[in-house]
């Protein structure tokens, strides 16, 4: 018998995917260079040359049996060691190899982290605006994802709403900073208050509440912005990392869970991840990719383009009268739409070949997301389209303001 639950999911078409398909079709008509496609969060800068060089070098010189052999289910020991040493040096926390579990990207990391600390029926809280894939990530484990409404003035945490939603059923809080879709980085004050709240509530409920910190954008932080290291503020933190964005390697599915050494039973949690893998059949990420990233831990792709793009867009959006919080990192910006229904707003933008994503699935209606991981030259050309769109559809002419 075919399982109905998964069959039913097929009818729920992704808005982002539909928009991306529209962009591709429109590109075939007028040339893709003329479609201002801000729909997809795909890195737009190449992997560092060192990664490619190391891959080729390993393929050309290493014993293939060793190179392509099974990784232990927790990850290749030398790789875990290199990552722990890198984290320890950067963040001043005593990470060792035994705190690291290698995964297939941040998605794989979250799959393990959630299963470590929640049973079916337990609650996981996250904060709007949030990455919509959190729903299947959490829902299909049997745990329940609850979304705390956004604090729209700055997209930091709405602590009043958070306190109201916390309960004895809350086993984990899933945060994502720098944030997709808002581009916001949680301030030190936010992280500190989150930590204080969870310590107080853990004591009140008599059980640990874990922070699952989804950090694929950790390396994309803009000038003058401080990105606090979450485990430095809260012991029970499971850091979920991916090299997809920092190294521009999204297809190679490589990341890790780093369990805070100060976490209760830290090593047990890592070992549990290895058991969880047996049930969801990851086993381990690809050996050669593990070995390659371990050799370029201090490198990133040239991420500066994202800040350049952000500044161009932010300045123009402000000039055009949008309400918008300036991103502190990522390659996303999340302005308020110029009418209540963001879907209608984004629909109208299509006429100007602007592909914008309405915010409804991010848990904060009335906004739209622009993923500016595209060429700066194209961002510049898009500004004129944005201006025409706003002036024509909403009669706002602020040119020269």
């Amino acid at each position: 018998m075919i399982v109905q639950k998964y069959k039913d999911m097929l009818s729920g078409k992704s808005v982002i995917r539909q928009l991306s398909e529209f962009a591709t079709a429109r590109g075939a008509q007028i040339g893709y260079e003329n479609v201002f496609d801000y729909s997809l969060g795909n890195p737009s800068v190449p992997v560092p040359q060192e990664f490619t060089d190391r891959m080729i070098q390993m393929l050309a010189t290493r014993d293939p049996m060793e190179l392509h052999g099974y990784s232990p289910s927790l990850g290749i020991p030398s790789v875990r060691e290199a990552i722990a040493a890198n984290l320890a040096e950067r963040f001043g926390l005593p990470y060792e190899a035994r705190h690291i579990f290698m995964t297939s990207g941040a998605a794989g990391a979250i799959a393990h982290a959630v299963r470590c600390v929640t049973e079916p029926g337990d609650e996981v809280l996250t904060f709007a605006p949030f990455f919509p894939e959190y729903h299947p990530y959490i829902d299909l484990t049997g745990a329940v994802l609850k979304v705390v409404p956004a604090r729209v003035e700055d997209f930091q945490i709405n602590f009043d709403a958070f306190e109201e939603m916390l309960s004895a059923k809350t086993m984990a809080v899933l945060i994502n900073t720098p944030n997709n879709p808002s581009g916001i980085v949680y301030s030190e004050a936010t992280i500190q208050k989150l930590a204080d709240t969870l310590k107080r509530k853990s004591a009140e409920y008599g059980h640990d509440i874990f922070i699952i910190s989804d950090e694929p954008y950790r390396e994309i932080v803009f000038e003058g912005v401080k990105n606090p290291c979450v485990p430095a503020y809260y012991n029970n933190t499971l850091m979920c990392y991916s090299f997809s964005k920092s190294l521009s390697l999204p297809g190679e599915r490589i990341g890790y869970v780093a369990v805070n050494p100060a976490c209760a039973e830290a090593e047990t949690l890592v070992n549990m991840c290895g058991q969880i893998s047996r049930g969801i059949d990851h086993n381990c990420p690809p050996s050669i990719i593990q070995l390659a990233v371990a050799q370029v831990l201090d490198k990133t792709a040239d991420l500066s383009v994202y800040e350049t793009n952000m500044n161009l867009l932010y300045d123009t959006l402000v000039e055009l009268g949008f309400t918008v919080v300036k991103p502190g990192g990522t390659f996303y910006i999340f302005p308020k739409a110029l009418e209540e229904d963001a879907k209608v707003f984004c629909e109208k933008a299509l006429k100007y070949d602007l592909i914008l994503v309405p915010s409804d699935t991010f848990g904060t209606p009335g906004y739209f997301r622009m993923a500016y991981c595209i060429d700066t030259e194209k961002v510049k050309r898009s500004l004129e389209a944005l201006r025409r769109f706003v002036e024509t559809e909403y009669g706002i002419s602020r040119k020269g303001n």
Copy 2:
């Protein structure tokens, strides 16, 4: 709160892993070349040079953004197409790209296939002797794995026991041919009778029963042995394949589910796999590895060493008086131990630096597994140790028989 279920699993130490650790420790004492380590099923021949060449060529010449970009969750279209064409040509079944779902090895394939066709509480039947990881693979989905006792005379299917265990709760039958640990290949008569039984029972119960066919050893079949293509006999077949053994790439985690085109709602099942991924967070296997294997689908590692090793071992085992069914493929052989308790038998063998795996976890007590994916030269040297072991411990001298 740390989830007890996974924590409890940590105390269950794998026998195979313990033996492998013993072998490593003993190797440090007397030189690993003197330890006859038959414990681990790791390929012992290198990946074909073509694979390495294609990997280097892609890294050196392709646009890295494209090469390392996200794969669609069902797999890269050109890769799915190449695999389907290859299957169609080899097996004469009308596979198309839409029938292929790319996975992280056969383990990943089974993770998706089982979730497609079973809900928690449903039963999956498998046949002893069986790969012990089937337990976590199935149990942790919530379905129940039931093991049909072995037909020890030839390790084909014990149909009487099978009929007794089939019930309205049976949603899938998980088979593994060529088989780990017996090395046996199911005959055409076995597959035909299995298909006939399941057709009859599906009609009787009023629901489809699926065959999940775990085929990582498909390419390792010995002279004169026919390996029937399961979907040619039974429509509702989900073939789970891995390139780990055929290409000697176990660490790179690459395989697929091929849904039989004749299967009810074949394409829906493939699309459902994409939804299941969102809950177990595979997403897709690594892009570069997908692209590389698609270019060497007609290649294998030099698998002939396994048949050479099997013949050496089989002849000596028979000569020494063991009851043993001659393997038709794989790199395993599964003789009857010379005393009732296979653990005691394997314990005694350690004194002769023979690392043999007792069969209890394979669901057929009283046997032992030898994984002969080691150098032929070492197999030859091990025969003398085997002879000394048997003669000394069991007083059987058949030299020259």
